[in-house]
Structure formats: structure tokens, C-alpha cells
Symmetry: C2
Subunit: 292 residues, 2 copies
């Protein structure tokens, strides 16, 4: 297992972690400058932040700072309730792939979507199995595009509390079943993003990480689970402030040969998004060394 | 599959559903009167409500109204961080068993506990596997007491969002693994309580209900998952107001021979607990017929 205590060379910052500080959007190019100034070597930007900054300008900044992208957030949201919706999903995910390629991302992270319409509070139906079938079909189609571009797809199983509205793939086992169905040869074209927040509770965590193996482990995301947690979406904790055995999780993925970045992704409306962005980045560096 | 549309003979009311209306505790004996007045045939009371009303008085009321108890809520909270804690857990669960017997409950429902201390915001450690081992050991010990008394134990897997502080058994598969380890003969002494809210998201739901079979399916709890959900604990929805395919779930358990009650258990601080208790009960009856 790698020693993270001495430096932060394996730290990546998911840029949602500092996306809006004290009510103001922190522009992506400024976030990148602040990361580079701290010797952070990798980031994972969100699409809306990239679009706001401009894709070409972001690519230039990434190149000039010498950043690696531990992933690109995100494709997915595959479920639909009309033919037009289906085509829009397909087109949008192809664009996400192209952007990921332009930025040189290690993978395109997929948050697959829940019941169509649920995120807007108007679920079209209650058939979770049907939503899952749409996801499987959509990922299969996207995988063809992804193979052509040489861009790996990383399915991110989301915590079951997001099954209705954000992602109906909710366990590593379920994600890996889909990977195995679409890519039995374990080519590296499709795998999973293991996010501590989403999977830490799973009684089959160790077993499924071992099953995933090096070929399927495309990304590792960290934050922490607070007790109590006061909001389903925006109350994630800084590493060390909650109950997740982050070092134990990292040991599991590294035992399979994972040697990539540990990407910090924290949505925290009342705490970390209310602080100075530089302070948040400094804290991420320290906790990366002390707790991950 | 039974027809629920014509009457509410298979409705049970978990008394937490109307425990505190508009900020005032609704005393258990009054709840029982209100249920009886509506032709409700079964209830599932919580221990603290029974203690407040008195065990003997509750038993008399149950008998005089002719209620069945679809379950008794609840035993469990098995995890501890000291020898004294371990003994206190054991003693308390034996008392819960005795109370369940006195009241003639169909089963003692077990919410197994999470990381010790986490519910009070002070987790003693982050070792979820160790907590799970304590649970397994404690359930094994309690099963001996339960067999002596002829009181079935119903392990209730709780939604993974409660893994830290309320229950570290989070899937039906995990609960059934424990049942199989402790009772390979499927004697009926131990099984599961299937609560729609906790398990609806599970990609292995149908498979694990089939695995459970009639001998392990001891209780069915219903409410609904709202989109959005604004609180992790007290924002459960009334049946029909959310996204759970309740009739589909009931079809799965009834296909295995489950022929017991459908128990309504709703924690709803901002909606249903703010209404008149009689209105809530009337709504439960209507939704039981229309949506379950």
C-alpha cells in the first residue's frame, strides 16, 4: 500500500469540492490555478464548470499546469421517457466523451440516472427494473462510442438513497454485473468508480472490489460519512470527520493493483462550501496525508 | 395475490405512525381505541409507547379489542463498546422478548444497531465489520432465549443510509445470510421483516425474497419513498405519494406464501405527524386499499 503521509502526489481534487464558496461560483480556471499553486497534480472537473470556462480554455489550462485528470464528471443520466429523450441522452453522452478526450481524462465517470423525471420531482413511473434496463442498453451503446475513442467508461454506483432520482445502479456488484455482461474480456474499456461515500456500507465491499480487480477499478473517490448526516445530497464530510475507514478502503483497491489518484469529492453546502476555497484545498491536502 | 381493494382486514398500524400529532404524544391506549373504532384488526406498538401506557394495561387493551400484533417494535441495538454494555444489551433484549410474549406479538422486530455510540454522534470506532460481528453474536445469543419463549425474531434490514448509526444489517441478502447461519433448518424461529422503505432500491430484491421463502418472511412494512426526500429519518411518505411499487413488492412476498398483515410505518415530522391522528388513520385505510 502506498504511503500517502509524506506528500500529496496522489491527491486529485474533484472541482465540485470548491465549486461555490460562500455563495459565489469559483471559476474553474481559478480553481485550477489554486490547485497548481499547491502542487496538486490532478483534478476532476465537472462538465458545467468546463462549459462555463470554455472547453478549449480549460484544455489549455490543464496542459499548461501539467495536470492529469483522474476522471471527467460526468456522463450518464441515461433514463428517458420518450424517443426524443433517448436520442438527447445519446447525443449528450457522446459530447461528454469528446470533451473527456479533449481534456485527456483517465475515464468518463457515469452517474446513470434514476426513474425518468424523478430528479425534477415528477417521476414518470415506478418501474425501477425498467429504468435499469434502459441504463444497461444506453451504456452498451455508449461503450461502442467509447471504444472508438479509447476513453474508458467508469460506472459509479451511487448510494441507495439516490436510487430514485440520481442513479439506479447502487452497488458495486450490480455495476460489475453490467461490466461483465458488456465486456467479458475485461478489456479495460469499462469499469467502476469506487466512491467511499456510496459504497462504504456495503457488506460485500471487499468481495466485490476483489472481483473488480485492476482492470475494472478506474477511479477512487473519497470524502466521509458524517453522523448525523443532515442532508441527503450536500452534507458530505471531509476525510477524517466521519465514520468511513478510508485507509481500509484504499488498502482493498490497492491490493488489486489500483495505483491511481485518490480524488476528493465533497458536496457540503453548510460547511466546506461556506469557507475560503484555498482553505478547503489546504485541508484536503492535510487530510489526504493524515486520513486517506 | 390477495385483494386489498375491498376492505382493510390485512392492514396493521405501526403505532409510531401516529405517535405524536401536532407536537403532542398521542397516548397508546387512545391510539388503540381509534384503530379499533375503524375496524383495524392489527397493530404493532413501540416499546416506549407500551412502557408509557404500562405493559399490563396495554395487554388488556389489546385483548379487549381483539387485536393481533403484526410485530413488536423493537429489540436490537446490539452493538456495544464495553462488557457492561454487552450485558445491558442482552438484558434489555430479553425484556423485549418477554413483553412481546405478554402482548402476543407475531414476532420481535430487530433493528440491530450501527457503530457503537454513533447514534449519539460519538462513534467509538469505524470498524463496521466488527459491529456486524457483534450483531451476529448477539442475535445468536438472543435466539436461544427466543426459542425458549416461542417468539420469532424478525431481523429488519435497514436502508444503507442508516448503516452508521441505526443498523449495520442493510440488505435482505445480509440478513438472510445470518438467518441461514443461525437456523439452517428454517425452523421459523428467525427470519426477516421486509420494510418497503429499506429494501425497495435493492437490485436483488426479488431474488432474495424468493430465497427467504415463507419460513423467513415474518413481516411486511409499508410506506413510500418521496422525491425529493428532505430528511434521512423523518420524511417517509404515505403509500402512493412516492415511487415505491408497493403492489409489486407485495406480489413478491405473497408469491412465497406470506399471508400476514401489511403494516404501515410512517415517520413524518413535517406532514403526517402534523395532522389529526384520526385523519392519518383514515388515510392509511384508504391508501392500503388503493395503493398496497
Amino acid at each position: 500500500m502506498r504511503d500517502f503521509t509524506a506528500d500529496h502526489r496522489w491527491l486529485s481534487i474533484n472541482t465540485a469540492t470548491v465549486r461555490k464558496q460562500r455563495g459565489q461560483d469559483w471559476p474553474l480556471l481559478q480553481i485550477l490555478d489554486a490547485c497548481a499553486a499547491r502542487g496538486i497534480r490532478a483534478v476532476s472537473p465537472w462538465r458545467d464548470q468546463v462549459h462555463a470556462a470554455g472547453l478549449a480554455a480549460t484544455a489549455r489550462a490543464v496542459k499548461s499546469h501539467g495536470f492529469e485528470l483522474s476522471g471527467y464528471c460526468r456522463g450518464g443520466m441515461f433514463t428517458y421517457s420518450s424517443d426524443a429523450g433517448r436520442q438527447a441522452v445519446r447525443d449528450d453522452n457522446r459530447r461528454a466523451l469528446d470533451e473527456a478526450c479533449e481534456l485527456g481524462a483517465a475515464c468518463l465517470v457515469l452517474v446513470v440516472g434514476g426513474l425518468p423525471g424523478a430528479l425534477a420531482g415528477r417521476p414518470a413511473h415506478k418501474d425501477l427494473a425498467a429504468a435499469r434496463a434502459q441504463v444497461a442498453e444506453s451504456v452498451a451503446a455508449l461503450l461502442t462510442d467509447a471504444r472508438e475513442r479509447g476513453m474508458p467508461l467508469a460506472i459509479e454506483p451511487l448510494h441507495p438513497m439516490y436510487a430514485a432520482d440520481r442513479a439506479c445502479i447502487n452497488t458495486l456488484e450490480q455495476a460489475l454485473d453490467l461490466c461483465d455482461a458488456l465486456d467479458p474480456g475485461r478489456s479495460g474499456a469499462i469499469g467502476v468508480a469506487v466512491d467511499a461515500y456510496h459504497v462504504w456500507w456495503d457488506p460485500k465491499l471487499a468481495q466485490q472490489i476483489a472481483r473488480a480487480g485492476r482492470e475494472r477499478l478506474l477511479a477512487l473517490h473519497v470524502c466521509d460519512w458524517l453522523v448525523p448526516t443532515t442532508d441527503l445530497l450536500e452534507d458530505r464530510g471531509m476525510m477524517g470527520d466521519g465514520v468511513i475507514d478510508l485507509r481500509g478502503l484504499r488498502a482493498l483497491v490497492e491490493a488489486q493493483g489500483y495505483a491511481g489518484y485518490s480524488e476528493v469529492e465533497i458536496f457540503s453546502a453548510k460547511n466546506w462550501w461556506q469557507r475560503d476555497g484555498g482553505e478547503v484545498l489546504d485541508t484536503c491536502i492535510q487530510r489526504h496525508r493524515d486520513c486517506v
